[in-house]
């Protein structure tokens, strides 16, 4: 039994009390003396030349304080890509400058080309409307379709990039010829062309930023919706604005969801800072929902051809993929890593496939930038693999479960080096598959299908056996692969004089539950009450330099930093205890919050040691500094490799094509579990988003580059009645071998593993209903698409 409030306890999330009672403090909740309001002018055309912007009428309007255009920022730096990718021929990727405000050209609908700051929001809104009317933009042909973009050298998103290609990446290029050879002689090849649909993140809280400038000190402060305040500070300071890092404080207070979209630095943040300096007043901006749709970094958007070469018995010989990945109009900060090293490296799945080759061409288009979104690259890899395996099983008449078992890496093979450059440290994929099958009552499926048929419904069963690499990432490894940043994290454990504890973390919580689970870990390790532990995050003035939260890294990386800092606290506490107890340091034991001399009843409590550290009257001052505060940085030795088996059951209404997910079983291996309640919540949320991608969410640009799904009237978010009651299990645990907590990431698992399970289930249902001509339906598998697929007899 886990200790109450300690590791393994299903402690309810302490932060939920303020979130659920409306007492959270989000960026837009802040009201500052003398504040002003910024509104952005955004392009209504996908592609156009900015001919002129006449600011004179706008500047004369009531309440208007300042007008900014791209011209005002032409001499500052661009918002950079964080990862350098080289093409197959060795040439570096094309990196067009991403300006703070569009300059010369606008490149997607929603591209901000000017900003107005006024005394009130309404005045700023009116002024922005006037400025838009006084702006002349010559519309150019929109580049929307990726295949057309690379085929037509005359029409360019960026004038200096003739084929709209950012890079043409091969992974691993040296294996290309050998993989091609396998395909030439393979007994069976299954080919599938598919689309991984573009998604709009739609965090509940839209992006918001407040810039402040303090003329007395020359300091800046940015309060913003960020998943990683230090990374945002670094990007603004070192690349865009040239503000010294130590003169810029970045605060990310309560943040209402990010899912990746709030990792990145956006131009609006630079504008509110520049405007605050100019006006010597706070400048605030909060995105409207329509702005979020048009200008947040979107996710996914791959077009892929995947081929599977195998024996007639289903033994995998090779995978080969060709992908076009849309980066949109500009390179967002991690846009080049997502379709490459977060995607290609996962293309072996949990399988002992000997040969894999991945080709990704990344394409500029006149659409919103695309970057990492919950799962980031791994959902794309998993969807391609699990769909093509499902198709192969149907083509060869093989049992889908046996084919997975035959090809799984076995527990005796770790550490296992994949042909795509990763080393899996541990896992047991047979165990999670067996568990999922037990949960789903496979033997009872035919009876369930028959009962569904009596109601006129087609029932289907879909499987996905997924793996992902998260807890990003080893800095030296990602450095070799092109990352321009390190990916460690940091924590400071400050034991206060009265014995309570403040823990400052680099990880940022925007819904994950850090304030609860980190406190549980500290309580367990230091033997204190979890309620005496406060987790502090989201403010560069308070926390050590950490890299923030994304890539399911908070627990695996920052949790490890906390663990390491606590180790230092305990080591120092032993020195203090040794002095106070007049014993040798080596004889001091620490257990359950008590320092004791081994084999005796002489002991000091944790609180006594803390008090002594700050009131050092009886203290080894000659050899030990007072105080009890330690900082640790932790750079992971490897990714963590959570894996699992997901089984989905759907019912298809053959009259309308509507798909209902009626059961969803998740058997996951996340290593050691710190808080089961939070893990379950993360899986629920991830699977919900995966079902949203699979069935509902359709980001649609028309041929003119207009986003035709730019509101919730047309963009279908999954709702409660779209998802089933989830059946989640995490009892299959192979602890991570290289982090001190033995944990793997769980935040993205659901979004990675679930979409192919849903689509496989739909295809299964249609085949069982006699529609065996349907080999694939692109996501979202909407009623209209299912019905259309059924018609093509």
């Amino acid at each position: 039994m886990p200790k109450d409030g300690g590791i393994g306890a299903s402690t309810k999330r302490r932060e939920d009390i303020r979130f659920l009672t409306g007492r959270g403090v989000y960026t837009d909740d802040l009201n500052l003396h003398g504040q002003t309001f910024a509104v952005f002018c955004r392009s209504t055309v996908a592609h156009g030349k900015i001919v002129s912007i006449d600011t004179s009428a706008t500047e004369a309007m009531p309440g208007v304080l300042a007008v900014f255009t791209g011209e005002d920022f032409k001499d500052v730096g661009g918002n950079p890509a964080g990862w350098l990718i080289n093409s197959r021929d060795g040439t570096p990727m094309r990196e067009p400058k991403r300006p703070v405000l569009a300059h010369g050209k606008v490149r997607h609908v929603g591209d901000a080309y000017a900003a107005v700051v006024a005394e009130t929001y309404a005045q700023a809104k009116d002024a922005a409307e006037q400025l838009a009317a006084d702006t002349v933009i010559d519309e150019l042909p929109a580049i929307v379709d990726m295949k057309a973009a690379v085929a037509d050298p005359s029409n360019r998103v960026h004038d200096e990039i003739p084929d709209n290609l950012c890079f043409d990446w091969g992974w691993i290029e040296d294996n290309r010829a050998a993989v091609d050879e396998v395909f030439k002689s393979a007994p069976h090849v299954t080919t599938l062309e598919l689309v991984n649909n573009r998604l709009v993140p739609n965090a509940m809280e839209p992006r918001a930023s407040i810039g402040e400038y303090f003329p007395g000190t020359g300091d800046y402060k940015l309060t913003t919706t960020s998943q990683n305040p230090h990374l945002t500070r670094l990007l603004i300071a070192a690349f865009v604005m040239g503000i010294p890092e130590n003169k810029l404080q970045v605060v990310a207070p309560d943040v209402g969801g990010g899912f990746g979209s709030k990792i990145y630095h956006y131009g609006e943040e630079a504008v509110v800072l520049a405007a605050a300096k100019k006006l010597k007043r706070p400048v605030r901006w909060t995105a409207e929902r329509s702005e979020s749709f048009l200008s947040d970094a979107h996710g996914r958007d791959h077009v892929t051809k995947i081929e599977l070469a195998c024996e007639k018995d289903g033994t995998f010989l090779a995978f080969r993929t060709e992908t076009l990945a849309n980066v949109g109009a500009y390179l967002s900060n991690f846009s080049t890593a997502t379709p490459t090293f977060l995607h290609g490296t996962l293309m072996a799945g949990p399988y002992k496939v000997p040969k894999v080759y991945v080709n990704v061409k990344t394409v500029f288009t006149n659409t919103a930038p695309v970057d990492a979104y919950r799962g980031a690259g791994r959902p794309e890899a998993t969807f391609s693999l699990e769909r093509v395996i499902d198709k192969m099983c149907r083509e060869l008449g093989l049992d889908q479960f046996e084919v997975r078992r035959k090809n799984f890496i076995t527990p005796d093979m770790y550490p296992y080096t994949t042909p795509v450059g990763l080393v899996y440290d541990t896992g047991n994929y047979h165990a999670t598959l067996d568990k999922a099958l037990e949960m789903t009552d496979l033997a009872g499926f035919e009876a369930r299908a028959a009962e569904a048929k009596s109601r006129g419904k087609l029932r289907g069963l879909g499987l996905s056996t997924w793996i992902e690499a998260c807890g990003i990432a080893p800095s030296n490894l990602v450095g070799v692969l092109g990352s321009r940043v390190g990916l460690y994290d940091a924590a400071t454990v400050r034991v206060n004089a009265t014995g309570n504890i403040s823990v400052m973390t680099g990880a940022h919580s925007h819904g994950q539950g850090h304030e609860t689970v980190f406190a549980q870990i500290v309580a367990e390790k230091l033997g204190v009450d979890a309620n005496s532990v406060e987790i502090v995050h989201g403010d560069t003035a308070k926390i050590p330099f950490g890299m923030g939260s994304y890539g399911s890294r908070s627990l695996a990386v920052c949790g490890s930093a906390i663990d390491r800092a606590m180790g230092k606290i305990i080591a120092k506490g032993k020195k203090i205890a040794a002095h106070m107890l007049e014993a040798a340091e080596g004889d001091i034991e620490f257990k359950d919050g008590t320092f004791s001399v081994a084999g005796t009843d002489k002991a000091k409590t944790f609180g006594e040691i803390a008090f002594s550290a700050y009131v050092p009257h009886n203290y080894p001052l000659e050899t030990l500094e007072p105080g009890l505060e330690e900082t640790a940085f932790y750079d992971p030795g490897n990714f963590t490799y959570p894996a699992g088996a997901y089984l989905c059951e759907v019912e298809v209404d053959p009259d309308t094509g509507k798909v209902q997910v009626v059961a969803f079983h998740c058997a996951d291996d996340f290593g050691n579990i710190m808080n089961p309640l939070i893990v379950e919540g993360q899986v629920h949320g991830g699977v919900g988003q995966g079902i949203g991608q699979a069935l509902c969410e359709n980001t649609s640009y028309d041929e003119n580059g207009q986003l035709t799904s730019a509101s919730f009237m047309d963009y279908a978010m999954p709702r409660a009645d779209d998802v089933p009651f989830y059946n989640v299990d995490y009892s299959c645990q192979t602890p991570c071998t290289h982090n001190p907590l033995g944990v793997k990431g769980c935040g993205e698992a659901g979004a990675i593993g679930s979409p192919p399970a849903v689509v496989n289930a739909v295809i299964d249902a249609l085949h069982r209903g006699g529609y065996d001509h349907v080999t694939h339906i692109d996501m979202p598998v909407s009623p209209a698409r299912v019905w259309a697929a059924m018609q093509k007899h």
Partner: protein
Amino acid sequence: MYNFDFVKPATLDEAVAALGGEDAQPLSGGQTLLPSMKQRLNAPGVLISLTGIAALKGVKLEGRTLVIGAATPHAVVATEAASVYPALAALAGGIGDPAVRNRGTIGGSLANNDPSACYPAAALGSGATIVTNTREIAADDFFTGMFETALEQGEIITAVKFPVPEKAAYLKFQQPASRFALTGAYVAKYQDGVRVAITGASEGGVFRWTEAEEALNRSFTAEALNGLSLPAEGMMGDLHGTPAYRAHLCAVMTRRAVTAAG
């Protein structure tokens, strides 16, 4: 949203007078008008609220006719019409979400005549009479096209009279995002015949499917509709469904409505 003036009269006469002013627009539940104003797509100078007029509210039975005040919210219809005209009550209870149902009104919905709205199907399918401050208009004459009605400038719907049928049902297939009707079928059987109204499908807005009505007059069963279909031509096509899909759904939803009506 742009600035506007707001008037909330207590009587119909005051409202009619106020609507005679320049740039005035009636506001009922505001579930379409207010979002479009917030997006600056609509900018009336004066809003005349109708929800303070007691005479425009309420549900009452007069003989075999259910009379619903134009400013009655959907949630009230869902509750108060349930025993008398359950199909209509169920339709009202299925519009939007609780917030929409407690603000949105029947008069507002009919005057707006959104091609995907539910109430136009009920009115046309029931052969209702739309009562205004100046006249009575048969539903067959009221809906004149997508977002268009027979209402004159300044004319206010005051009530809607629904003859209560022997049996009826409304089945809608929801658009996945908005949950409006991607296609909805309202079927009502009266002593003098069956009426079938389809919403969400046609580029012309709500319409009667007369072939289905004739078939159902012969036999009020789902089977009677076998072989009947509507042409894709003239149907709406968008992200959520092609014209062919909508034409198909018209038949599916009509059959299901007949079955549900019993």
